[in-house]
């Protein structure tokens, strides 16, 4: 009986163990077969009860507090005014591809530098060191691959920052992985910063009045470009907007002026 096949696939699908082909096959059949559709629903309900086999465990009180902070904040009025509109929409897949290429080349360059470094050390016959270095290199490659994979992941969000009055032609593109709470940012057409100053990226949070420094970066005087990565982003609902100012070297804890170079809404 043909429906027997779908019984099996529906059971597998309910626990997330069906292959992509099986899932597609099942979905097509369910459109025309009410019996199997009801069965698939029953299997899903059954699977959703599996966690009840576990003993409940109360999370530490801090978790409740930070969740309530996160959502309580999102209904509060936001004081910051954002006077700009985003640039015309550009297919984010294009940016993801560009970012992947960028990362690939970046990783490649780092590998090249490390290989050279290894050769110098080999000449000095530090064999043990070399072995250690090779491990680091492999770890770096894995990290790079993981970053690339995360950038290409379906959950990755992109945010555009537009040039403001201090640098009207500047722009930036942020690839944000909300699940891992990290981001990689590319800056374009930025005026090079003086040697005693740094650009600083600010996260404007929905739940806090003061912008939060997310790190500093220098712009390459020739290409007028830069990039940076952020670890430990606030959860995505807390990010209202991002902005860039020019600050004393090394950055400061609150912006010293409202002369923005770049700004963009997180647009949730």
């Amino acid at each position: 009986m043909i429906h027997e096949t779908f019984d099996e696939i529906a059971a597998l699908e309910a626990v997330g163990a069906a292959t992509a082909d099986e899932s597609r096959f099942l979905a097509e059949h369910l459109e025309g077969c009410n019996d199997c559709a009801a069965l698939a629903r029953a299997y899903r309900e059954t699977a959703a009860r599996l966690p009840l086999m576990l003993d409940p465990v109360s999370p530490p009180p801090g978790v409740r507090r930070s969740i309530m902070d996160a959502v309580g904040a999102s209904v509060q009025p936001v004081t910051l005014e954002i006077p700009y509109r985003p640039r015309p929409f550009i297919d984010p897949r294009w940016y993801a591809t560009a970012a992947l290429l960028f990362l690939a080349l970046w990783g490649w360059r780092e590998v090249g530098i490390r290989v050279e470094r290894e050769q110098v050390r080999a000449e000095r016959a530090v064999a043990a060191r070399l072995e250690e270095e090779r491990h680091l290199l492999a770890a770096d490659n894995r990290r790079m691959m993981a970053q690339m994979q995360e950038l290409a992941a379906p959950g990755t969000r992109t945010i555009a920052l537009a040039g403001q009055k201090m640098a009207p032609s500047a722009s930036a593109r942020i690839f944000m992985d909300p699940a891992r709470r990290r981001a990689i940012i590319f800056f374009y057409d930025m005026p090079p910063n003086p040697s005693n100053r740094s650009y600083e990226l600010w996260i404007i949070r929905a739940d806090k009045k003061a912008p939060e420094g997310a790190g500093t970066f220098d712009v390459d005087p020739e290409s007028h470009r830069s990039s940076m990565t952020i670890e430990r982003l606030p959860v995505d609902t807390e990010i209202k907007a991002l902005a860039v100012t020019l600050e004393p070297k090394g950055g400061v804890t609150t912006p010293t002026s409202s002369d923005y170079y770049l700004m963009g809404e997180a647009g949730l």
């Binding site: 597998l12 626990v15 292959t19 059954t46 086999m53 409940p56 999370p59 969740i67 959502v71 999102s74």
Partner: protein
């Protein structure tokens, strides 16, 4: 899932009712946290993902459709899918090996009496689920758990257990069928 005994909270949550959201958390967080501990075997990760899941629930509350299952089932589905995302991104980073070492200590986490009292609704269902699982042969149950909690694919399960793929599929089907029948008898009637 039977939700008849319980007042629905998600409609209020979708209107921005923080108190309803707090109640939702107090009612269901313990079982969701247990689920994430089982899946991730790391309290830090479990707490982070729990937060992500509840923030998502807050944002998506208006999408909840009571005709398609209980609030707990909806929350479980959000939480598990976030947990699976975390497992996958960890796999990429090759951290699974580390988990194996932590596994046993986490799984034996003591029963939290208060939490058990808090989720009264889950109580009846929980007994039924455990009774149903107790009737399933160990091999079937193991395959289901590896898929549902550990996010393994059918071929990964076959590889891990050293059993042909066809056997794994059959085990999961039989296990699920038995569970479904038993739960229908004891809960849905």
């Amino acid at each position: 899932m039977s939700s008849s005994q319980t007042i629905l909270l998600l409609p209020a949550v979708s209107d921005g009712d923080v108190a309803a959201f707090e109640q939702l958390y107090d009612r269901h967080a313990p079982i969701l946290y247990a689920l994430l501990l089982r899946m991730l075997a790391s309290p830090e990760d479990a707490q982070e993902v729990l937060q992500e899941a509840f923030v998502k629930a807050w944002n998506d509350a208006s999408r909840y459709d009571p005709s398609r299952g209980s609030e707990l089932a909806w929350l479980i589905s959000i939480t598990r899918s976030r947990g699976i995302d975390r497992i996958r991104s960890r796999k990429v980073r090759g951290e699974r090996e580390k988990d194996a070492a932590r596994d046993n200590s986490i799984r034996s986490t003591a029963v939290d009496g208060m939490a058990a009292v808090e989720s009264v609704v889950a109580g009846e269902e929980q007994r039924a689920v455990r009774a149903a699982l107790a009737e399933i042969p160990e091999a079937q149950r193991q395959a289901l758990e590896l898929a549902y909690f550990d996010g393994l694919s059918q071929s990964e399960i076959a590889g891990k257990l050293g059993v042909p793929l066809g056997t794994i599929k059959t085990r999961m089907q039989l296990g699920m069928r038995k569970m479904r029948e038993r739960l229908r008898e004891s809960l849905d009637r």
